[in-house]
Amino acid sequence: MLSSNVSAGTDGENSISKGKKPVKDCFESLNRVTFALNQGLDRVIFEPVAKAYRVLPSPIRTGTSNALVNISSLVTIPNNILQGDFKKAGINTGRFLVNTTVGVVGIFDVAERIGFSEYEKEDYGQTLGVMGVAEGCYLVLPVLGPSTVRDAAGSFINVLGGDPWYNASVNGNNEYLSDTAYLATRVLAGIDFRAKNIDSFENLEKNSMDFYASIRSLYLQDRQQKIMNSKVTTEAMDDGDWEEIESQ
């Protein structure tokens, strides 16, 4: 996969947006080791499981995916509020209520059918970004994959009370939910994601000279777009470098 002379030790800076400082890959050597470990785990566990999951009938996979998205709105809604987007918070609350009840715990996306606007996931890492907190260094977390210091901190907020689903299942005192339920949804979300992208990842890996660097670039671009909540792609891009290119 990786060419032999592509190794750790770059200065690893990724410039991804207008006027922003590039994100540094301060721990690149360690990140590359973790990345390799994750790839190993993927080959042995996640990819085979995802392939098996893909064999399930489409309605089962769609229903599972819908239910997981519905649960994720429990984190999206407080983040809509923290970002000052009260309108979206209201819409997402309505969507959650409709899908949880009429849609049978979110298995059916009834809200979409009755005209709710397209769902956009938000998380605490994005909210920190909107508040002006810089990314910090790029990180690759074991099992979880690409992140940054800011996004990893955002994830911790989930388990510190920011995720109502975590609170209800792990900390809740009821007979229906337990930490197993929470863990199961997280694992299922991972399998669902992997199953949707088997071909894409294979293709990217096959056509990359430095797969690690490609994934890092894609992750950082994606986060920047999400934080800007921009519908216009070029708003998040620096055209300066393009303007210097003369080929005609």
Binding site: G9, N197, S200, D210, D222, W242, E243
Partner: protein, 197 residues
Amino acid sequence: MKKILTFLTFLIIITSGISKAHSIEADVFVQSTVNRAAKTLGGNLSKEERVEKLKDIARDTVDINGIGFYSLGAHRKNLTEDQLSEYKKVFAEYFLKSFSSRLAEYSNPEIEVDSKKVINKNYTIVSSTLVSTESRPKVKIEWRVYTKDPDNLLIRDLIIEGLSLARTQKEEFSSIINSNDGKIEALLKNLSDFAAK
């Protein structure tokens, strides 16, 4: 991560083209390019024939040299004439191999051009949608079209759900060069090896 997914999926749909048109609008150029690629991918050609056809389309409609220079980033300013000449050669081989082999696996993508936005006299961004199928949702694809010469429009980048293909490649190249003490030779070797495999 949804955007990453769709980006990865549609690295696939990337470069295709039409014969060079004369003073046509950027959106018409993109739609024609897409139609030409779809015809190739949907035809009864062998994989090898598809690859060759796709390479022809890319040569006609993609600014391979421009993308190559962009992908070098700041490093392009440090190259000697000989290195630059070698880079242009191996990059073109790499580019054509990479994208034709990606595309050849897929058949008949249906892309509808939605709108265009003129950025300046050199660039127009054309927005399009890859129509959804049973196996995937619709995907937003934007095309950065180089319009400096109105008689010879060229594609310089594809932006899939907000993720730039050229930028990703630029950062990959930078990583390879920086991993090898800033030596461009390392990138040249990687490009050659990739093109030869």
